[in-house]
């Protein structure tokens, strides 16, 4: 049996009979979603006062999560479109997963905004009154997110059609009636005739070309919601590209994580290979470095301003109450992942594993680094060479926390031999880091008083945490249910690659899909 056919058999098996753990996980996720829904009813009844937001910090976890999810949504369709246009062959087994991420993340992200609204009952006012007020960045968001969601749905659907036709023909009575009906309806009479195929290819190319600028616009306007205000830390022209790069960065990390999960649960190791991880890993590294660069230029420019407010913001971030988020974000979410991606590709590091005496080196180095800083902070005589503000425990504990986050690097010898594990660890760190980064974008800028105020703090409540937890559970749930109803790998594209490889170098992709016996003619 050919590779593509084995893959088909494997995934059709999943669709016909889900794995045993499936109902448990679905129930669990649905439970979390239900709890979040309960929290939301409390919020709806009493008002946004049940959250930790207040007049000085009018935005909190909901907006942070909105930016995060829209960011995650980014890479899916965008990466798939770019890979399709550039005819990167290795994309075939992963495009579908990527496209689904986009759709799911956009849906949950849009939900965050509705949860955040003081008057969700007036949602449609945006359409009723909005068009007279196109100067509002919120409307730009509504328009571009709606366009992106529509575009991504179409872009997910078009390459799904041949697979749907196959499900219609091959699964037949193996699945319940409604599922048969679903495949039949969605397949829209696909027979795989040359004309249908040509149309499909053309539609795909057009959509892929269209979706790229739309994707870029989406995160640009998300950043405009912030940068169009006069707030310190927001009012910056770098915000558009900064957000776009951040979105693609976290989105790729999202794809890598999802790939790892699906590969594991549906046993796809033979098709989603180390090569896929490594290729996306390099992409992740490139964006990681660009993001570091943007972050550096952003803060350096800010730090050079003689402006009080900017200095106040930087103090809050570096040594103030937000330091405990800032340093882990920079070191754990940006520096560590970059190193983790590179680790398995540096042959010299192999000796850390193979030469016995060198084995404890990573842990020892990390420990020594931590210890020295603590000792310095605790006022060893050598600490006198440091500027006063640096030499006190209060100002140093947050950078230390960040260094603690780097402790992950003591795993280097373990990860060095496991490329995929190393990349997945990096991806998870990136996503945590990027969530924290969005927190640092939203909250501290609001917490810098523009007129005299005492200290401004923001402490989220159980309602907010529950709803955030619920959206992540909902995200996983939608993704899982999709993979249970539709093949999570684009089967016809994988087969197409195989076929064209066999009939090298004949007409790529013109061979009609032949419905097996039993299909309608």
């Amino acid at each position: 049996m050919s590779e593509a056919r084995r893959l088909e058999a494997q995934l059709l098996g999943v669709l016909a009979r889900p794995p045993r753990w499936y109902p448990f996980i679905v129930t669990l996720l649905a439970g979390v979603v239900a709890w979040a829904f309960y929290a939301w009813t409390v919020q709806y009844r009493i008002g946004l006062g049940v959250t930790g937001m207040h007049n000085r910090v009018p935005w909190g976890l909901y907006i942070i999560n909105f930016v995060f999810l829209i960011g995650i949504s980014h890479a899916g369709t965008l990466v798939s479109a770019i890979l399709r246009i550039t005819a990167a062959e290795w994309r075939r087994p992963i495009t579908r997963m990527a496209e689904v991420i986009t759709v799911v993340a956009l849906m949950t992200g849009a939900l965050m905004v509705m949860v955040d609204m003081g008057r969700p009952d007036r949602l449609l006012y945006l359409l009723r009154y909005g068009f007279g007020h196109l100067s509002s960045p919120i409307l730009w968001d509504v328009l571009s997110v709606a366009t992106y969601l529509t575009g991504s749905l179409i872009y997910l659907y078009i390459p799904l059609i041949p697979d749907l036709a196959m499900l219609r023909d091959r699964l037949g009575p193996k699945v319940p009636g409604w599922q048969q009906w679903l495949y039949r309806t969605l397949a829209m009479g696909w027979r795989g005739t040359p004309r249908q195929r040509a149309r499909l290819e053309r539609a795909l190319t057009v959509m892929a070309l269209l979706i790229i600028p739309i994707a870029v616009s989406v995160h640009t306007v998300v950043s405009f919601v912030f940068s169009m205000t006069l707030r310190v830390g927001w009012h910056s022209s770098i915000f558009g590209p900064y957000f776009v790069v951040g979105a693609i960065f976290s989105g790729i990390a999202g794809i890598i994580t999802a790939m790892a999960v699906f590969r594991r649960i549906y046993r796809l190791e033979a098709w989603i290979t180390e090569e896929h991880f490594q290729k996306l890993g390099w992409l992740l590294l490139a964006l990681n470095l660009i993001y570091l660069y943007f972050t550096f230029s952003e803060y350096l420019t800010m730090g050079y301003q003689p402006d009080d407010a900017e200095a106040a913001l930087l103090r809050l971030l570096f040594i103030g109450p937000y330091g405990k988020i800032f340093w882990p974000m920079v070191l754990g979410g940006l520096v560590a992942p970059a190193l983790l991606v590179m680790v398995p590709s540096v042959p010299a590091l192999r000796s850390l594993r193979t030469v016995p005496v060198l084995r404890p080196v990573p842990i020892a180095l990390t420990a020594a680094g931590l210890l020295t800083t603590v000792l310095l902070a605790r006022g060893m005589p050598q600490a006198a060479i440091l500027p006063a503000w640096l030499a006190s425990w209060e100002t140093l504990r947050w950078p230390l926390l960040g260094l603690g986050a780097l402790l992950i690097l003591s795993l280097v010898p373990v990860l060095q031999a496991r490329r995929v594990a190393s990349l997945v660890t990096a991806s998870v760190l990136v996503n945590i880091g990027m969530w924290l980064k969005r927190y640092l974008i939203v909250v501290p800028s609001l917490a810098v008083a523009q007129t005299p105020f005492g200290a401004i703090t923001y402490r989220p409540t159980w309602v907010e945490y529950s709803i955030i937890g619920g959206t992540f559970a909902g995200f996983a749930l939608l993704y899982l249910v999709f993979s249970r109803l539709f093949p999570i790998v684009s089967l016809w594209e994988v087969r197409e690659a195989e076929d064209s490889a066999i009939r090298e170098p004949a007409d790529v992709g013109t061979r009609p899909y032949v419905a097996p016996a039993g299909g309608r003619t």
Partner: protein
């Protein structure tokens, strides 16, 4: 007072010859006279008057009095909405719930506001407040017919802010804070006719501003506030700024 009432009675519009003339409201706050109500040992009376006049729910202040410092020492600054001519809040509102009326007052239509709070993030003067929970409606407020010029009763899930007492100036009354200030430090001005009054005296607005080095708070932002401050430390009532 009668003279004053006559002069302002026409409110927002005043007949001039054939046509009408539209007021362009402004406010002048004389910081030489504002001593934070410390000499009379009371909480700031402008704030109290405002709270009463608009039945403000607990936790809301549409005008705040903050303490600032300059080279000569500390001083008090009442901060109402600046009624910016180039108002960031108006620009960002997605449904036009925040708008400037013909007299240059920035109003909020609480029946339209969707509660996105972008305007709160956008206001550089931190003057906007939100109804985080259902605001209590005292019996006397329940009878008021809602209008953006007198946004009572308050609406849950929407923003509120100082609206320069549009309901009072419309029929020739001073804003509640100006009327309530025992030191008469707050003046209502009209840019069209170039007059200003605090209820005691009537002045030529432009001369008053230029002779006393009036400035606008954070004027460098380019929001063009309609609220002017005359620098001072409450010295008109013997307050010593060092204190």
């Amino acid at each position: 007072m009668t003279k004053l009432a006559e002069s302002w009675a026409a409110g927002d519009k005043r007949a001039v010859g054939q046509g009408t003339l539209t007021r362009q409201w402004a406010m002048v706050i004389d910081l030489r006279k504002c001593e934070g109500c410390t000499t009379i040992d009371k909480p700031p009376q402008c704030v109290e008057a405002c709270n009463r006049a608009h039945y403000l729910p607990e936790g809301q202040q549409w005008i705040r009095v903050v303490v600032e410092r300059d080279q000569r020492g500390s001083f008090f600054r009442p901060i109402p909405c600046m009624q910016c001519e180039n108002a960031p809040c108006v620009q960002v509102c997605p449904v036009g719930a925040t708008y400037r009326n013909a007299s240059g007052v920035v109003l909020v239509d609480n029946n339209r506001c969707i509660g996105c709070r972008l305007c709160m993030a956008a206001c550089p003067y931190d003057v906007r407040v939100f109804n985080w929970v259902r605001p209590p409606t005292p019996p006397e407020a329940a009878l008021v017919r809602y209008s953006p010029e007198f946004p009572v009763p308050h609406r849950k899930g929407t923003v509120s802010k100082c609206m320069l007492c549009a309901h009072r100036t419309a029929h020739g009354e001073l804003p509640a804070c100006a009327a309530g200030c025992p030191m008469k430090a707050i003046y209502l001005g009209d840019l069209t006719t170039d007059v200003a009054t605090n209820g005691d005296e009537v002045l030529q607005l432009s001369t008053f501003l230029s002779e006393n080095h009036a400035y606008r708070y954070r004027g460098d932002l380019g929001t063009r506030p309609r609220v002017y401050y005359i620098p001072g430390h409450g010295e008109a009532f013997g307050r010593r700024p060092g204190a």
